[in-house]
Point group: C2
Chain length 343, copies 2
């Protein structure tokens, strides 16, 4: 039995959709326990309309909520009775609680995880790691997607190691790691990426395929796309924006032609629903915060029940696969000092 | 009558597709003259099968070609009889020749334009500026898309000014300029983008709407997306990769369902052809090199005749609209020192 704590008050659709999503996850996995932190009364209102295994759901009341308007560090320090801080305290202190899900402010979740749970020893900068769909039907991990606007070469080595551990935990045998730069040649990029390239080439434990470009991220030819947090965030959000723009352009082209409209109405509605689901990856499931000493999944702010359910199951799968211990093992086996990455 | 010189030997499909594209452009604009530089015999072979106004097409023979394998600076210095260097010499020296198009190596075109034509006075770093389609049916200029992997804040101010001048030349009345960072809040980004944000806020002559994210680039809510060349290149190529991945995912969803396949075959083929054309923007038309003292258009390496034709007409339109003089005027009216951007 694995216990996942869920911040019931984080996100645009909290608490109703968060509660529904958590209950949905309970229904699809009998080895799962869920703790909801938040306003007991509001949570109870949603719960009263649902049927679920009461032995596997616990509600812990908290009076405060951290919002997007709060300054993360201050809020984590001061709002001690917030759904986020109470959940993180439980994650840190309760051995049975091994994973955490929140759709709240990214800054607050990241700061909270750092201050209240702590980093894996040896990782100076935890990173945000979402999984994107690829043209070949698989997934690619993007790390760092925005936790660190400024990075050092050693941080990018840690991202490569953690991304590899996560991809392996997801079942990829020998994850192919690419460094996202402005060209495929070895010398491309600014000094940060040039130095990172040289380190990654000699870094044991990863399968480095070299520099890749933005167009390679979703090609299906790599499993882990290593980025600094600044350009990684731009790349991630550019995939979202482009996917939306493409869907819009397609829609307009279809709706602009009578016969295409007929074809759509008669035959293609279901296919497009599927497509939308795949392309809506930013809202489906969450990004794992790698480098934190427990499993932390950040769900999209606009998450609805389906998404929260996916994030809870994703957190449980990460615990099941031993993600945190594998990262620790990879780090203990890799002498970053020996390749000149530290100091 | 405006004369555009075209590097007939640059690109994967040179010279046949380049020659065909140039001839196509001549056919659609009676005020256009084209000079082709390259192997006279090979160019002649393609020309012999085409009909065109011979008075408006000139071929200048050159014995050498600069390829993707050449080191740009060395090649520009040594291959003096290459189609690229001869074309740039004409662009620099011949007053009647006001624009240039090449589908050759980006590095060589950029270096060549810098060394052989020169910068606009006051612009320290010319930038690559492609136009992308938006979700609202318009265009957005991305600047810099890859000329400068390392930038200073003043460079980003120049990009904003040049992008504004270009958008105005394309008919946008008051172009909205966004700075692409890892979040919309004013303080987001690394020190480069934080400082650039503060400068852009006070920069006269532009309509700065603040920080934008990768997802806003193609939203249609901005006309000019200012980026450093490193993250701008990643953003540009990520849009290409995502568009391809989305088209692939759509295709598989359609082909995986019998009825969707029927609908596609009966009704939607044409709509999808249109969509492919819009989304194939990277191969259609070219990116303007802004900051060079004449109009330089870099067409995609895999350009075919249609694309080259579009690039030639794009170069002519830029000349017609007075793009280079407008940039000079904007610079002369903007005291970058006064806002603390220089030095």
């Amino acid at each position: 039995m694995i216990k996942i704590v869920v911040d019931a008050m984080g996100g645009d659709n909290a608490p109703a959709e968060i509660v529904k999503g958590a209950v949905q996850a309970l229904g699809s996995d009998k080895d799962l326990k869920v703790v909801l932190t938040g306003d007991k009364e509001k949570i109870g209102q949603t719960l009263s309309g649902l049927s679920y295994d009461k032995a596997r759901l616990e509600v812990v009341h908290c009076a405060e909520v951290i919002t997007n308007d709060d300054a993360p560090t201050l809020a984590i320090r001061q709002k001690k009775d917030s759904s986020l801080v109470v959940a993180l305290k439980m994650l840190k202190e309760d051995e049975e609680t091994q994973g955490f899900v929140s759709a709240g402010s990214t800054g607050a979740v990241l700061t909270g995880a750092l201050l209240r749970v702590g980093r894996i020893r040896g990782i100076s900068r935890p990173a945000v790691c979402p999984a994107l769909p690829t043209a070949k039907g698989g997934k690619v991990l993007l790390i760092d997607a925005g936790a660190n606007a400024e990075c050092k070469p050693v941080n990018l080595c840690h991202f490569a190691l953690m991304g590899t551990a996560y991809a392996k935990a997801m079942g990829v045998k020998e994850p192919r790691v690419g460094l996202v730069t402005n060209g495929t040649e070895d010398h491309k990029g600014d000094p940060l990426h040039q130095e990172a390239h040289n380190l990654l080439k000699t870094l044991p434990g990863i399968h480095f395929v070299g520099n890749v470009e933005g167009r390679d991220i979703m090609s299906g030819d790599i499993d882990v796309a290593v980025c600094d947090g600044f350009s990684g965030n731009i790349a991630l959000k550019t995939t979202e924006g482009t996917a939306l723009a493409v869907m819009q352009i397609i829609k307009e082209n279809i709706m602009g032609s009578f016969w295409a409209k007929v074809g759509y109405a008669l035959f293609m509605k279901k296919a497009f629903k599927n497509i939308k689901r795949v392309m809506d990856y930013s809202k489906y499931g969450g990004a794992v915060l790698l480098g934190i000493d427990k499993v932390v999944v950040k769900s999209h702010g606009s998450s609805k029940a389906d998404s929260i359910c996916a994030s809870v199951l994703q957190a449980k799968a990460a615990v099941d696969s031993g993600l945190v211990p594998s990262i620790k093992e990879m780090l203990s086996e890799t002498d970053l000092e020996a390749i000149g990455a530290e100091g």
